[in-house]
Amino acid sequence: MANKLNIVEAVNQAMINEMEKDEAVVVYGEDVGVEGGVFRATVDLQKKFGKKRVFDTPLAESAIVGTAVGMAINGLKPIVEMQFMGFSYPAFNQIISHVARMRNRTRGRFTVPMVIRAPYGGGIRALEHHSESTEALYSHIPGLKVVIPSTPYDTKGLLIAAIRDPDPVMFLEPKRIYRAFRQEVPEEAYELPIGKAKVVEKGEDITIITWGAMVRDVQKASETVKKKGINPEIIDLRTISPMDRETFIESVKKTGRAIIVHEAPKTLGVGAEIVSIINEKAFLYLEAPPTRVTGFDTIFPLPRGEKHYIPSPERIAKTIEDVVKF
């Protein structure tokens, strides 16, 4: 049966599938109940599963995450929503001090299987704090997993894997492409492995590593450079932490060149880690310096400036040419 979903619908269906299967799964956060979420990601959940398992909370992110720690210890599998990634910071202490540490602190006696969902990224002409891409902050924290899908199919499979994961997962949703396109997706539950990247396009001239909404922009850039005879291999990282190093290392060994594309600021963005890993593992294969195409080291501008900030297909294409020419 046809089940064509966009990304936000895939998020929704993944939760429905898992809630049907597993009584322990509960969903809560700001406006996720009656309203169904400001992006409609949790729409119908309360109707389907009742107010006990799907509910609105008072406006307090630290409590949303902190109570989820308690719930998880007490046998539930909470999925909590941070309304926007830029509003996850009041919960930062709970995330770094407890979510990420409970297993290690207790040598595995208490664990906190939970998912923290947050729409992230720019390009939706939003107010301040609504365009954040701070995946690097969370990826520096041992004990967390950080997942970012880029297609409806991946979204569903990865979110289900995140819900089933025995460890806490930050599940970051590229809101710019929430409704960008639909894809045929199985109606029933399925899992995609966390920690596995995907080769989106095969190529031999250069490796491009990216994730989230940028995947599509990289694909556009790829179309441009292909016309000039450059064939990029595009890798969608999908899991930022822990990273699938093998997939991009193998690719770079083949191409000798690498570009990392992300929206976040350059300094200490995830690109920095990828460049470093490439250096460690494929140094002798490099024909040009691994290069980053990123947001600037500035605060994300209000909408009248954002077009400059997010790497455009043109900026990416130009960098591909430069690196290939190096």
């Binding site: 700001e30 406006d31 009656v34 309203e35 169904g36 400001v38 609105d56 909370t57 008072p58 406006l59 307090a60 630290s62 409590a63 830029g86 509003f87 910071y89 009041p90 002409r125 939003a126 107010l127 301040e128 704090h129 609504h130 350059k266 300094t267 600037f296 080291d297 500035t298 605060i299 501008p301 209000l302 909408p303 009248r304 400036g305 400059h308 900030y309 900026r315 130009k318 430069d322």
Partner: protein, 360 residues
């Protein structure tokens, strides 16, 4: 008024002007000149028109997300009007009425909601902080400004706003606790507009009133009819006077209602009944004030019509002046990260400019 007479836990609302435009507690009505009354009324009208226009521009795709103010004019204008020029205003994000009466040019306000940082560049001497989006975080700044006043021996005060939803945040608690411990001259105004996006006030906290949260800090707390401009004015004035005399902070709960949507992206019919909205429309703060002014023969239909036209013209003119001429320049993205631009930012700026110019 005496705060002691309005114990928050008793759910007694402090009010002066009822929904029919009648004065119910004559002794509390502070005296205003006719001019002042018309100025207040004009500002309320102005606020509402700015709001309506923003909504219609937004619907036309000419403006970004916007958080409407309709219904909360008295809560904001009444309270902010009690401030002196040298006092500080620390808003959340829905304080249009307060901004306008505190002298922020409409151009700034529209520029901000149009998506340009220059909107938050306040004119010299206007002691108003910019929009603060992360809920309740601004309260800490208000307390800090007040603490600094005490340290410096200055006696201006701070008025700050937060929503009913904002009272659930840790920052609310910490800011009030610090303010009380350090006797900071701060007036905390909760605009209880009954909703935090879709979440109704009663699901936000089990406490009967929000004003009673003051007890946790040994701070006076008072519940005020937020649609009553006189009550909001006189409660705030009393709190400001106390603060200025060194008697510390006060918590005011303005009991009001958000007649519009949360923002232009929100559809309130999903979470509330039309009937509820209609009930509150009867309590409209502008209508009520108008009835009063009419009963006192201060306001004429003609004045109202002319004023309305005048305002509309100004509002349209202001918006069109900024429209399309307000793109952010590349330099503007880089210029304000630090006082002096560090080398890595200079490099990124140069690289990007040369990319745009088609160079390497």
């Amino acid at each position: 008024m005496r705060f002691e007479d309005y114990k928050p836990s008793e759910e007694k609302h402090y009010s002066i002007l009822n929904s029919n435009g009648q004065i119910i507690t004559e002794e509390d009505l502070l005296s205003f000149s006719e001019e002042e009354l018309l100025y207040l009324y004009r500002t309320m009208l102005y606020t509402r028109i700015v709001d309506e226009k923003a909504l219609s521009y937004q619907r036309q795709g000419r403006m970004l997300t916007y958080a409407p103010n309709i219904g909360q004019e008295a809560a904001q204008i009444g309270s902010a009007y009690a401030m002196e020029k040298e006092d500080w205003l620390v808003p959340a994000f829905r304080e249009l009425g307060a901004w306008l009466i505190r002298g922020i040019p409409l151009k700034n306000i529209y520029l901000y909601w149009y998506g340009n940082e220059w909107g938050s560049y306040m004119p010299e001497g206007v002691k108003v902080l910019p929009v603060s989006v992360p809920i309740a975080s601004q309260l800490q700044h208000a307390t800090g400004i007040g603490m600094a006043n005490n340290i410096k021996g200055e006696n201006n005060v701070v008025v700050t706003y937060v929503g009913d939803g904002g009272t659930s945040q840790g920052d609310f608690h910490e800011a009030l606790n610090f303010a009380a411990v350090f006797k900071a001259p701060v007036v905390f105004i909760i605009q209880n507009n009954q909703y935090a996006i879709s979440v109704p006030r009663k699901e936000q906290t089990a406490s009967e009133t929000l004003a009673q949260k003051a007890i946790a800090y040994n701070m006076p707390g008072v519940l005020v009819d937020g649609n009553d401009i006189f009550a909001m004015y006189s409660a705030t004035k009393e709190a400001i006077d106390k603060a200025r005399k060194g008697e510390g902070p006060t918590l005011i709960e303005a009991f009001t209602y958000r007649l519009g949507a949360h923002t232009t992206s929100d559809d309130p019919t999903k979470y509330r009944e039309d009937k509820e909205v209609e009930e509150w429309e009867k309590k409209d703060p502008i209508l009520r004030f108008k009835k009063y002014l009419q009963s006192k023969e201060i306001l004429t239909e003609e004045w109202e019509k002319n004023t309305q036209k005048e305002i509309e013209k100004e509002v349209v003119y202001t918006f069109e002046e900024i429209e399309d001429k307000s793109d952010t320049s590349i330099e503007d993205i880089f210029n304000y990260q630090y006082e002096t631009m560090p080398p890595h930012l200079e490099e990124q700026l140069e690289q990007y400019k040369s990319f745009l110019e088609g160079g390497k």
